[in-house]
């Protein structure tokens, strides 16, 4: 069986998730035994000439040109994997959607704003069908490999639909709330093995929210720990805005 041809693409992003893949270390050798990487801007200059089986896409869709490009990729690839928060939930680029489009364009590009085509930030699946998701900012390497193995075997990959707290408890971390620090673990979907909290940081919610985040209960939590609603809102804002359209210009 010939190895599947795999192409990596990027849209609006920091390319940090590509770096995570390039940084797999020893596992990279095993990965390369399974796939034939035909395009990967960050590590090689060869191009796929639009011949590939699996497209692995980083970054969010932020221009009309992006839409055309991702549609073309979708038409070529048999399997499309979105990886990294920008691609899977819009990520930090989604913060743009907090502002009217024209206003934010002017803020960024000033007098040259007219030269730039921009649309509200979208995750990849908001534009084309996505077969697999690897959430996270950046991706959690072991999960990427799990998803790749699923894709190569044609099996579905199930992103956990429970909160980061589950994994965090299993790792026996002291709860951030008990330290007096706000953390998005309770509403963020797991799958990262509570990577950040294991290393002393909080959960920033980069994997997106669980499907049923229990709004009422969240308010009780804020009340118990005396945390203002705005703090949590701001934190959620950082990664989880792409689902919303930009407000109208007033």
């Amino acid at each position: 069986m010939s190895k599947p041809r795999v192409a990596f693409f990027d849209f609006a992003c920091c390319e940090g998730c590509q770096l995570q893949v390039a940084n797999f270390g020893e596992a990279l050798l095993d990965v390369l035994k399974l796939i034939d990487v035909v395009e990967f801007r960050e590590v090689m200059s060869e191009k796929s000439n639009e011949k590939y089986d699996i497209a692995i896409v980083e970054g969010s869709i932020t221009t009309n040109h992006d839409i055309e490009r991702i549609k073309k990729i979708r038409n070529t690839a048999k399997v499309l994997i979105a990886y990294g928060s920008c691609a899977t939930i819009g990520g930090v680029n989604g913060m743009k959607n907090n502002f009217p489009l024209e206003k934010i364009k002017k803020y960024v590009y000033n007098k040259d704003a007219n030269y730039f085509d921009t649309i509200a930030t979208k995750a990849v699946h908001q534009v084309v069908k996505v077969d697999y998701f690897v959430h996270g900012c950046p991706i959690y390497q072991p999960e990427f490999i799990e998803v790749l193995k699923s894709a190569l075997r044609g099996l579905p990959y199930k992103v956990p639909d429970y909160s980061v707290c589950v994994e965090c408890k299993l790792n026996e971390n002291e709860c951030m709330y008990d330290k007096g620090i706000t953390c998005l673990g309770p509403i963020t979907r797991a799958g990262c093995n509570s990577w950040c909290i294991n290393n002393g940081n909080i959960c920033y919610g980069c994997r997106g929210m669980v499907t049923n985040p229990a709004k009422n209960a969240q308010m009780d939590v804020l009340d118990k720990y005396k945390i203002p609603l705005d703090w949590i809102k701001n934190k959620i804002n950082m990664y989880n805005k792409a689902g919303e359209q930009a407000p109208e210009e007033k």
Binding site: S163, D178, P186, V210, T211, D220, V221
Partner: protein, 344 residues
């Protein structure tokens, strides 16, 4: 007469030193502000002798969060079971957690026997530690009758003024006494002092809820349509903290994983929780317990009703972990009292 030994407090550091030279010893160690975790130690300074229940109970040594059960090779068509275990001494297990381990022992020894669990259990020595006072307001160990030892240990330490009086319960426990060579025979004065501690505990520990032990099961059995569950429906986050920290929750998921050669792999089990959204979801997307209130009710029934029917034992040890860890302030004592009030 029961076999009691004495370890002078001044000899305690030496005891841990000698014990940890020969065995892997784990004990409660402070983890942050008000959290503790069973962690490997080699010195008595590391051990928190006064601790509230650890984040995870000692069950993590009996059924680890994640463990391999089998390995397979597709091209060779082989499938072999795997037993993972290690020799271990757990020091400082409170009576609530001794009760928790006893519950797990019952479940995993039931037919079909869980060989992976039993292989681990047979290699773990347990040194209990008496609580002379409540750890905090979340505990309800008196009503669950686990505030004093009911067996389930090799050695059991009770703190006296100058020393620990140690009950030797098994041959393996006696082995530790011999190995460390620091223990003396208990005198009648020591025994009297111990009786004093027990008498003092009777005054400190009182039923923590408005229901008698014997009335818990009938009360829960009548509670199916209770408003209390509707209330929990609104308050529960479904973060699963309550079940993951519970010393008697043992639900797990089994997953087949494959190596990067896409040929060999292994079967693992990892802790699962009835509070998780997907726990009772079946093919087609139907979930038997879609509502968080239903899931909470299920959790309580698995403590106060179902195991009583099957094993004649409550599966709540009163350790208070579920209430202590609940982000949304759901409190076991309050839930029981609310149900009791409804019943009146």
């Amino acid at each position: 007469m029961k076999q009691f030994k004495i370890l002078e407090k001044k000899d305690f550091p030496q005891f841990i030193k000698r014990l940890s030279k020969k065995h892997k010893v784990v004990a409660p160690v402070s983890r942050g502000n008000k959290s503790y975790a069973f962690t490997q130690v080699d010195s008595s300074d590391q051990i928190a002798m006064k601790y509230i229940p650890t984040i995870l109970p000692p069950k993590k040594y009996f059924m680890p969060q994640r463990e391999t059960l089998a390995q397979y090779n597709k091209s060779k068509k082989t499938f072999q079971t795997v037993l993972e275990f290690e020799e271990l001494v757990i020091f400082g297990v409170h009576t609530c957690d001794l009760a928790g381990i006893q519950c797990l022992n019952i479940v995993f020894s039931d037919t079909p026997k869980d060989i992976n669990y039993i292989a681990r259990k047979n290699r773990i020595l347990i040194i209990g530690l008496e609580c002379n006072d409540y750890c905090d307001e979340y505990a309800s160990c008196k009503v669950m009758d686990s505030h004093h030892p009911n067996g389930g240990y090799d050695l059991f330490f009770t703190e006296l003024k100058e020393s620990f009086i140690v009950h030797v319960n098994t041959l393996e426990g006696e082995g530790i006494i011999e190995l460390t060579g620091l223990f003396k025979e208990a005198t009648s004065n020591h025994l009297k002092e111990r009786e004093g501690v027990i008498a003092a505990k009777k005054k400190i520990f009182k039923d923590e809820v408005d229901v008698h032990y014997k009335d818990l099961k009938p009360m829960f059995d009548k509670s199916a349509g209770s408003k209390v569950w509707e209330d929990l429906e609104k308050r529960c986050l479904s973060c699963g903290n309550c079940t993951n920290v519970c010393p008697t929750c043992y639900c797990f998921d089994i997953i087949d994983e494959i190596n990067l050669d896409l040929d060999t792999g292994y079967r693992i089990r990892q802790w699962d929780s009835c509070q998780n959204e997907d726990f009772a979801k079946v093919a087609g997307g139907e979930s038997f317990r879609e509502e968080r209130g239903q899931r909470q009710r299920h959790r309580y029934m698995r403590k106060f009703s179902y195991p009583v029917e099957r094993y004649a034992r409550h599966f709540c040890t009163g350790c208070g972990r579920c209430s202590r860890t609940c982000m949304a302030k759901i409190n076991l004592k309050e839930t029981i009292n609310a149900l009791a009030k409804e019943n009146r």
